[in-house]
């Protein structure tokens, strides 16, 4: 038996167009077509022909990005809105945990609000009375129930709202992203309550960004994207498909970030000046570095300081934000990250083989060349940094075009966003071309480990220890 039946549902929202302001009361009343009389450019299609069934007793999850139509779908099922076309049919009493405590009046007591809220959600006064003690106990508000709701903390407010809604004891429970209402203990209590609902054969529809929750709880899931069903079925597979799509989207986003970074790199002078002109650096060390550097460059090669591409190094490397500087005797003309299959990418799985490719160009022969790479996490902590000099390279030489590849066989970083430094410089550190934090990549991991670095590892147990599920 199906509890919820959604057939080819479309929902078109109006946008506030200019034309609306000229609509008069009279014309609207006479024509009676406030909704239909619209031009297409003033509408937004939140749902475009969505169909699915939810069997009675099933726990069903809807996932999707922000603005994909999840909440609209939920509202249509709750009966708060009506589909523009198609139909939604729900069997049994529905309770929607959409906004907790909507309709609470701040001036009156929690007790009175429980009664009114319960009646709004469809209970009779007697039904509320018989559940009142349970509600208050569940919300843990025994001591405050007679105080006006305006004196409640937001957590208390939400708890009371949740307690009332859940005690409506619906056949179909709609939950929209409300589990973050209280502390850990309360969240557990809510999950227990959901589990109890399941045991009693009630239908639960869960809209959540917590994919973990959907995989753990739901028997089926639906992925909505821009108002269209992209996948429907086994939650694990639906969520994997969704995650892959999210990764692809992030990749596109980071790629466009790189194009912007390249644009920054195109204007190195402006960046360099802005950095060296910034007054933030510690007075002691900054002038020292600034004084020292030109001396070195002039001593080795006079042209360096006069080169047209030259820009100044920031006074303090560790305070530096993204930018590009150096003498440009050697220039990094292209930076590319490629994944295991050799395809350029920005999103990797933890443990992937990754290659960083630097295409360089030296107009004149150079003998003092060091390639360097640094990986920083989102907090700015250097996760790893190395260069060819540290690793003992000798007899370096470069003329014309060339490529340097830095291959990481296994990218053992934890989930997160990372930034990349790449540089070509002299052995003494004077930069030819330094790209500071200009490139971004993301590491994905299904595990939620802590820290920065993920050493290859395994667990082994002996004696009385039994455990399964580990890779």
């Amino acid at each position: 038996m199906t509890a919820i039946e959604v057939r080819d549902v479309r929902k078109i929202y109006r946008r506030y167009g200019r034309r609306r302001q000229f609509a008069t009361l009279k014309s609207a009343l006479l024509s009676g077509r406030l909704v239909r009389d619209l031009r297409p450019d003033e509408t937004f299609e939140a749902l475009r022909g969505v169909s699915f069934d939810i069997a009675a007793g099933q726990t069903f999850g809807i996932v999707g990005r922000n603005g994909s139509g999840k909440s609209t779908m939920l509202k249509l099922i709750a009966g708060i809105g009506r589909p523009t076309s198609g139909h939604v049919h729900v069997r049994g009493r529905v309770s929607a945990l959409i906004e907790l405590g909507a309709g609470f009046h701040p001036e009156i007591s929690g007790r009175e609000n429980v009664y009114i809220n319960g009646m709004m959600l469809g209970l009779t006064k007697r039904e509320v009375a018989s559940r009142f003690d349970d509600i208050v106990r569940f919300a843990e508000l025994e001591d405050f129930i007679d105080a006006p709701v305006k004196t409640y903390s937001s957590g208390m407010y939400m708890r009371l709202g949740f307690a009332v809604a859940i005690h409506v004891d619906p056949d179909v429970l709609l939950v929209d992203e409300v589990l973050a209402v209280g502390d850990e203990a309360f969240t557990h209590k809510c999950l227990d309550k959901f589990a109890e609902f399941r045991r009693r054969g009630r239908t639960i529809l869960l809209v959540s960004h917590s994919l973990d929750l959907v995989t753990r709880f739901c028997e089926a899931a639906l992925w909505l994207d821009a108002g269209v069903v992209r996948a429907h079925g086994d939650p694990k597979r639906v969520i994997d498909a969704y995650l892959m799509d999210v990764a692809a989207a992030e990749d596109r986003q980071l790629a466009s970030g790189d194009r912007q970074a390249a644009a920054v790199a195109e204007a190195p002078l402006a960046v360099g000046r802005a950095l060296s002109g910034s007054p933030g650096g510690p007075e002691g060390s900054a002038p020292q570095v600034a004084d020292e550097l030109p001396v070195i460059s002039t001593a080795v090669d006079v042209r360096a300081s006069e080169a047209p591409g030259h820009s100044e190094e920031p006074p303090d490397m560790f305070r530096a934000v993204e930018g590009r500087w150096g003498s440009r005797e050697v220039e990094i003309v292209g930076v590319q990250l490629t994944g295991p299959d050799g395809v350029p990418a920005h999103v990797f799985q933890s443990g992937d083989a990754v290659e960083i490719r630097l295409r360089v160009h030296a107009p004149h022969p150079v003998r003092d060349v060091v390639f360097g790479v640094g990986i920083f996490n989102a907090d700015g902590v250097c996760c790893y940094g190395t260069n060819t000099h540290i690793e003992g390279a000798t007899d370096a030489e470069l003329h014309g075009d060339g490529e340097a590849r830095f291959t990481i066989d296994s990218l053992d970083l934890v989930d997160g966003t990372y930034k990349l430094d790449v540089a070509v410089h002299r052995e003494n550190g004077a930069p030819y071309d330094y790209h500071r934090l200009l490139y971004t990549f993301r590491v994905k991991s299904r595990l939620r480990e802590a820290g920065i670095f993920r050493p290859p590892h395994r667990w082994t147990f002996s004696g009385g220890v039994r455990m399964s599920g580990l890779p």
């Binding site: 929202y13 109006r14 009361l25 609207a28 009343l29 009676g32 406030l34 909704v35 509202k75 709750a78 009966g79 708060i80 809105g81 009506r82 529905v94 929607a96 959409i98 906004e99 909507a102 309709g103 009046h105 001036e107 009156i108 009175e112 009664y115 009114i116 009646m119 709004m120 959600l121 469809g122 009779t124 006064k125 006006p148």
Partner: protein, 264 residues
């Protein structure tokens, strides 16, 4: 429509609780509390008495003495009418969160506003009764039997207009501003601070088109004037019209119902 009314009946306990909440919440935190329901009309009466007996003495004919009492018979129901409409025009917008997030019949909100106004009106009645006793105005029991009928007619009329205005305000926020001006005009176009007979005959014809004229005259005849209640045919006509207004108001509300959650 009948189905809607049936559903409203199911929600009567909620409506009752919401009216009670409305009244409680309104005066929570004020020193006089419920007494404001008595004090407000008294103060209003004081102002009009000052204007019409001290600033402008003698503009009213002697058969309207005591003039304060005459005015009070009209001001009290008018206060209910005008404040209900003003609040109802705003009630859906103010309760937007509720309409967007909770499934329940939205018409409950304007209905609660009007009913809360009715309770305030009821609380003002003891003051009116006190004045009637003080001035020893003879009130015929037969006339008094008409009083609930007048109130019922006014209730239906106010409910119809409140439903209409509340739904329209969601779509056209101008209604609120328009309404407050319209109500000022409406007040002076109703024989409340003057008697209908004082107006020139051609203006009287115009005033007769105003449904509240007949309500006000009915209140005055029943409570203030001696002699039989002669306004009843017109009152019943207004009653019939009020039912039509209620029907039309509810119809418009129902038509706009689906758009309320989106527009609010």
């Amino acid at each position: 429509m009948l189905h809607n009314l049936q559903q409203l009946f199911r929600y009567r306990a909620l409506i009752a609780s919401l009216v009670a909440r409305e009244l409680k919440a309104r005066y929570r935190g004020s020193v006089l509390g419920f007494f404001w329901s008595f004090v407000n009309p008294l103060l209003l009466l004081l102002i009009y008495t000052f204007v019409f007996t001290i600033v402008l003495p003698g503009v009213h004919p002697p058969d309207l003495e005591p003039f304060a009492l005459f005015m009070f018979c009209g001001i009290l129901p008018w206060a209910w009418f005008s404040s209900s409409l003003l609040e109802a025009s705003n009630v859906l917008v103010a309760g937007g969160n509720l309409i967007r997030k909770v499934l329940f019949p939205a018409e409950i909100l304007p209905i609660v506003t009007v009913l809360a106004g009715l309770v305030h009106f009821g609380l003002g009645l003891p003051i009116l009764a006190g004045f009637l006793l003080y001035y020893r105005v003879p009130v015929a029991p037969v006339d008094l039997a008409w009083f609930p009928v007048i109130v019922a007619v006014q209730l239906v009329l106010t409910l119809g207009l409140a439903l209409l205005l509340s739904a329209l305000t969601v779509h056209f926020r101008d209604v609120r501003d328009l309404l407050s001006n319209l109500l000022t005009l409406w007040f002076f176009a109703t024989p409340i601070i003057y008697a209908l007979a004082q107006a020139p005959p051609n203006v009287q014809g115009l005033l007769n088109l105003n449904p509240f004229t007949h309500l006000a005259v009915s209140y005055q005849e029943v409570l203030f004037r001696a002699g039989p209640f002669t306004e009843w045919p017109r009152l019943l006509a207004v009653g019939g019209g009020s039912i039509a207004v209620f029907w039309a108001g509810y119809f418009v509300f129902d038509r706009l119902r689906d758009t309320l959650a989106e527009e609010v």
